[in-house]
């Protein structure tokens, strides 16, 4: 390592030699950086899963345009009038339209626990709106109280065995109680947990009315539109939006609706703000740790630095030593930080069912952030170098 650094720096790697000379200080510094990395990674993981979960809520459906209530969030509990669907379908670019009903339901499990599921209701004939996850299963919902069950619900097989859920079909339906109703699961799909729901269930619009008698067919949660071939969704959304300008609705392309939801969750929803602050505080803690480490190191070597200045070394050379140390600590701290971060993600994902995983992009962002933080802390620590007064050496 020493020879490699000597070759790269074209001088004695004083910073590296200083660090390895005091092993305990180096271990403490690396542990500090690793801890700061872990802190930021956990917060970033939660923020990222917030985005993933938000995007997941859209994935069961294939749609070009979404007409939604004015309040952000796909699962906001608000409703719009179904008559808007007829105004929208009057547009020559629209091929099909369907109402989508969304609500949540409690699922009491045999072990006494309770799980909240999000329930999507849409007409069984609206197969054009079935996303990849649903496939051709919508028509199975034509019979009353037939449902498609999310196999990614944590402990989904608690009551009847995971194998049963894996092999659900109209020939092997699964009867269970939910929200005081007896339903038959005739198929499965995969969605996963949200922050306040453990998974999802898809039902027909008729079954939805039975599960939620207070909801009426005339007030869906959203209206989904599919366009004819070669139509520009943004232009059509703008045109329909203009036509519905007097209504309290927003007409957006599917991509825009997802982006708006993600942006709302990250920037306005309390959860996003809290974890966003967590990321900021994590970075701040990291900065303080690195500053303390480098600052203490500079103080410990003040006499040596003053000697270098007396010998004719420039201030830039001394800064180079501090930055050399900062870079080494950043790199050495990054590796255990990312390893512990990945392990923590796995534990969090297993415990919550949330889609939390390490990505190469996030790891690289952390590495870059760590290098920037270390450089910044190093720059702050070098203020102490000004006290390295060579005249004081002769005393």
């Amino acid at each position: 390592m020493s020879r490699l650094l000597q070759y790269l720096l074209r001088r004695t790697p004083v910073g590296w030699l200083q660090l390895v000379h005091n092993r305990m200080r180096l271990i403490a510094a690396v542990a500090g950086i690793a801890f700061a990395n872990l802190l930021v990674l956990v917060q970033l993981g939660v923020v990222a899963s917030l985005s993933s979960v938000t995007q997941l809520t859209f994935t069961p459906f294939a749609t070009d345009i979404v007409i939604s209530p004015p309040r952000p969030q796909f699962l906001n509990g608000e409703m719009i009038s179904r008559r808007l669907m007829y105004s929208a379908i009057a547009d020559p670019a629209v091929a099909e339209a369907t109402p989508l009903y969304v609500d949540t339901i409690e699922w009491k499990r045999t072990d006494g626990s309770s799980t909240t599921l999000v329930v999507y209701g849409l007409p069984p004939e609206a197969d054009a709106f079935a996303g990849e996850a649903i496939g051709a299963q919508l028509e199975l919902l034509a019979a009353a109280k037939h449902v498609l069950l999310d196999r990614a619900i944590p402990d989904v097989g608690l009551d009847f065995g995971t194998d049963v859920v894996e092999h659900l079909s109209p020939d092997q339906p699964l009867q269970f109680e939910i929200g005081g109703h007896s339903v038959s699961a005739v198929g499965a799909f995969e969605l996963g947990s949200g922050f306040d729901t453990a998974g999802a269930m898809i039902v027909s619009d008729q079954t939805f009315q039975q599960l939620f008698p207070e909801r009426t067919a005339g007030t869906p949660s959203h209206i989904l539109l599919r366009l004819k071939p070669n139509q520009e969704p943004a232009a059509v959304a703008g045109r329909i939006g203009d036509r519905l300008i007097s209504e309290r609705v927003q007409v957006r392309t599917n991509a825009q609706a997802i982006a708006d939801d993600v942006s709302y969750m990250n920037d306005e929803a309390s959860l996003g703000i809290i974890f966003g602050m967590g990321v900021f505080i994590g970075i701040l803690v990291g900065l303080v740790i690195v500053y303390q480490v480098l600052s203490a190191d500079v103080a410990a070597h003040m006499k040596e630095y003053a000697t270098f200045r007396a010998m004719g070394y420039s201030h830039r050379f001394l800064l180079g030593i501090v930055f050399e140390e900062a870079m080494i600590i950043a790199l050495l701290g990054f590796l255990p930080g990312v390893l512990f971060g990945s392990a923590t993600y796995q534990v969090m994902s297993m415990q919550t069912g949330l889609p939390i995983a390490m990505s190469v992009e996030r790891a690289l962002a952390i590495l870059l952030g760590t290098i920037v933080a270390c450089t910044l802390s190093g720059a702050l620590a070098t203020f102490r170098l000004r006290r390295a007064e060579p005249a004081e050496l002769f005393s």
Partner: protein, 230 residues
């Protein structure tokens, strides 16, 4: 005047103060002195007499407040930090407390005296020069030892090697033989004298060691900030 004829160090009416306002105290009074090329000059005087201050003024480690200090032909009064820093690369410093870098080996510490001139040059040649000077100071078996593994005298010899490895034009030394035994101390002073004779290297040394005073070409006595015997 040719370059060889220019005295390496010249002081003219130098005054120096510490502190400010009412607590301002004058520590050097109207000092004038010229150091000859290749000479061994000893600065002596009681503790607090100002000899160290004078040493730091003439070695460009301290800002000249009043008077003129010419080092290697360059005026230090009003000189920029950059030019003083460049000038110091032509000097050698030996500190009483050796001030070695604890995490660098004897070889690496000594090499720092050469690397100050930049990364250019033959690495093998530099390494050979480093090894040669350490061997000539009796440290051939301790080249890759850290200062913590060396005795006080060995550390001081590494500090001397670091000061001399780059062939400085002047060496400024503060009690360089204090940590050395009689033989080692004499060896170092003889080495400095020999370098003065062979290469014209001047040495300005603060010392109380009477053995060294006896070997000096010139002894300058300072008391209460005034040069008494020049």
């Amino acid at each position: 005047m040719t370059t060889a004829a220019i005295p390496p160090v010249e002081l003219e009416n130098v005054n120096h103060w510490f502190g400010s306002g009412e607590s301002r105290v004058q520590v050097i009074f109207n000092a004038s002195l010229s150091i000859e090329r290749g000479s061994l000059t000893v600065l002596r005087g009681p503790s607090g007499s100002g000899k160290t201050t004078l040493l730091t003024l003439m070695s460009s480690l301290r800002k000249v407040q009043d008077g003129s200090v010419r080092l290697l032909g360059q005026e230090l009064c009003g000189a920029s930090q950059k030019s003083q820093q460049r000038l110091r690369r032509r000097l050698g410093f030996i500190f009483q407390a050796h001030n070695l870098h604890e995490s660098l080996t004897a070889r690496q510490n000594t090499l720092m005296g050469l690397q100050v001139h930049g990364p250019s040059g033959d690495v093998a040649k530099r390494d050979a020069a480093t090894v040669h000077i350490l061997e000539s100071l009796g440290l051939g078996q301790r080249i890759d030892y850290l200062p913590g593994q060396l005795s006080g005298g060995q550390k001081q010899r590494v500090a001397i090697a670091r000061a001399l490895v780059s062939n400085p034009e002047i060496v400024f030394a503060d009690e360089p033989t204090a940590a050395l035994d009689r033989d080692a101390g004499l060896l170092v002073v003889q080495m400095l004298k020999a370098l003065g004779q062979s290469r014209g290297m001047s040495t300005v040394m603060v010392t109380h060691d009477t053995r060294i005073v006896a070997l000096a070409d010139r002894v300058v006595t300072i008391e209460d900030g005034k040069l008494l015997q020049v």
